[in-house]
Amino acid sequence: MKTMLRKLAGAALALSFAVGGAQAQQVLFWSTQARPVEETQKMRDEVLKGFDGPVDYQVAEDGPWLTRLQAELQAGSGTIGLLGGLHGDFSTVGADLVDLSAVDVGGVKVNEAYKKLGMLGTGEQKYMPWMQATYLMAANKQALQYLPPGVDLNTITYDQLIEWSKTIAEKTGSPKFGFPAGPKGLRHRFFEGFLYPSYTGSMVTKFRSPEAETAWNKFKELWQYTNPNSTNYAFMQEPLLSGEVWIAFDHVARLADAFNQKPGDFVAFPAPAGPAGRGFMPVVAGVAIPKTSPDIDKAKALVAYMLKPETQIATLKATNFFPVVDVKLPDDMPASVKAFGPAIAAMTGAPDALPALLPMGLGDLGGKFNQVYTDSFERIVLGGEDVHGVLEEQAAALKAIIDQAKAPCWAPDKPSEGACPVD
């Protein structure tokens, strides 16, 4: 017993030394991703554990994330070792990121299209793609009995979705379509990447077109059958699990919990299609090193580690973001991954698929860009204002933002000379 105690004490002492010694050289991984506390913990315990050296994984919301980064860049020295964020997060600070082209990823094949995105239109690899995701629809299996005859979930349209939600609302007596319209919900992404492209084939140029008016009127129609609590939802997995909502749209990472907790209860399916196609938004997250990183070599080693196939699979399990490298997924994946895989394939591979990229080239005007869509939603759908009038006003705001950023068009809008026009 005594020797046991002594051994334990020795181990504790050694551990405290190890921790104390390591404190000085640990890499601060400053990220806007994997923010829910369970995901953050999994990133620390399961994903970053295998790295040679301690990593301090810290998350922040986009605003504070950027504010701290900019403060460090302005000061000319910093503690942030590695940055994790979405494509849009990096476009603001591109000039202050270390070129990662020389990072040795050890024969791993990284998605070329995403790598090109990571160059932010320069000759340098500003960020390395890290993981990817998209948005999907999810439905409680109880909702399937009300599906209008002849509707195939894999090729569903907005009209069919409205009809389906209407039937459910009438048959069950309460609206059961759910939409993440809360302040922390990703409502703006739905309008930018799904509703607009599906009806107008555009995100920016046709912002106030007659097609856009149709889109908003359709959404107003759908809103009648939408759970009014939607303006409080951030993540759709909770209302899906509680049964408050039967059909929902959200980011895969914000739906995953529902599928993992009750694998038998839900189905995942592609986003609906409109007259112009099946608009959807792929999401790319990346890792980058700020020029003020205290130990650039160590940070580069961490970049390479994040792209290893094992790390990518661990990341998928932890965050529900899919790998960006060629990797064969093992069989023991969570239920959400098994459900989402085919739905994503059906959506991206559909004949009418219309990928719409995240807003690009806006720099720190990204928030204002999103606000244009959120404001339109709040005024048209919640406030009941006239669609045409609101779109005219918001189009002016949108044009001012795009002109200020001098952002050229991105998909699905046609490439432009100079700032993307708002017709």
């Binding site: 504070p64 504010t67 309460s174 809360g182 009014p228 303006t231 409080n232 928030g367 999103n370 005024r379």
Partner: protein
């Protein structure tokens, strides 16, 4: 040591602290509010006031202050009177009344969210009693009035105690002789309260009201927890400009507006509730 210098020396740390952590940042913020890309301009204020949400934020903030503060004042006076009159258990009552003070405003918002939420305590109670068959949505976007009431309730519950603490201290300063004299002349409790307590409490009332009014203009976390963006207030919009819209200049302008309103009301109450030097106890 020179006795005359001592007070100033003792004030030094606090003054330094204020200069470094209040005055200096304030100057920076004021500077940001009236410049854009280095040039002097009032555009930031124009942008702020031109936003379609701005009238609603000002209205909500003022309305909230106008409703919450008087109710809090009445409650604080009541609580302070009870506490001051108690013979035994005075500190126990004081502690119990002051419990909400120990809770952060976000936590207070979350507590009331747990009550008013669709699956919250109130709905559980109502359906348990058979009054409603399906949960009522108190905090939806269509029910701005209930959101407002919930926010007001949470604010009243959370922050009345701070006024009470100030008023209890003020009541303790009022000499007992006045009350004894009033009793001799047959003044009832209400008359004593109106004729003695209230006038002599004026300095404390002034402090308490100013403090609460300023805090009312800074209401943020409770509203964020209960109303999200359904009930926009000034402070929330300031946060929005800074962090969501990444526009520091407009956020600074918005912060200055809150400061200006606060200073305006402070001056107003200083004037209205001023106590002439001769009348102080």
């Amino acid at each position: 040591m020179n006795g005359k210098a001592l007070p100033y020396l003792l004030l030094m740390p606090a003054t330094l602290f204020l200069c470094v952590f209040f005055l200096y940042p304030f100057v920076l913020v004021a500077f940001e509010a009236v410049t854009r890309d280095g040039a002097f301009t009032f555009d930031n204020f124009r942008t702020m006031a031109g936003s379609w949400k701005f009238p609603a934020t000002v209205r909500n903030t003022l309305l909230l202050a106008a409703i919450v503060v008087p109710i809090q004042l009445a409650m604080a006076l009541l609580m302070a009177s009870i506490v001051s009159r108690l013979e035994t258990g005075r500190s126990a009552a004081l502690y119990i009344f002051a419990i909400p003070l120990g809770i952060s405003d976000l936590a207070a918002g979350l507590i009331w969210l747990a009550i008013f939420d669709q699956s919250g305590f109130l709905n559980t109670l109502l359906s348990g009693l058979g009054i409603v068959d399906r949960p009522i949505m108190f905090l939806g976007y269509q029910s701005k009035l209930t959101i407002f009431i919930a926010v007001a309730l949470a604010e009243i519950w959370r922050a009345s105690a701070i006024m009470m603490v100030i008023l209890v201290a003020g009541m303790g300063l009022i000499p007992k002789e006045y009350y004894e004299a009033a009793e001799v002349f047959g003044a009832g409790p209400w008359k004593r309260f109106v004729r003695i307590t209230l006038p002599l409490l004026r300095p404390s009332l002034q402090t308490a009201i100013i403090l609460r009014v300023i805090l009312a203009f800074e209401v943020f976390a409770v509203v964020a927890a209960l109303g999200g963006t359904n009930l926009p207030v000034l402070m929330g919009e300031t946060y929005n400009w800074q962090f969501t819209l990444q526009d520091r200049n407009v956020a600074a302008a918005s912060a200055l507006l809150i400061l200006a309103i606060s200073i305006g009301f402070t001056l107003f109450f200083l004037r209205v509730l001023r106590v002439p030097k001769e009348a102080r106890i």
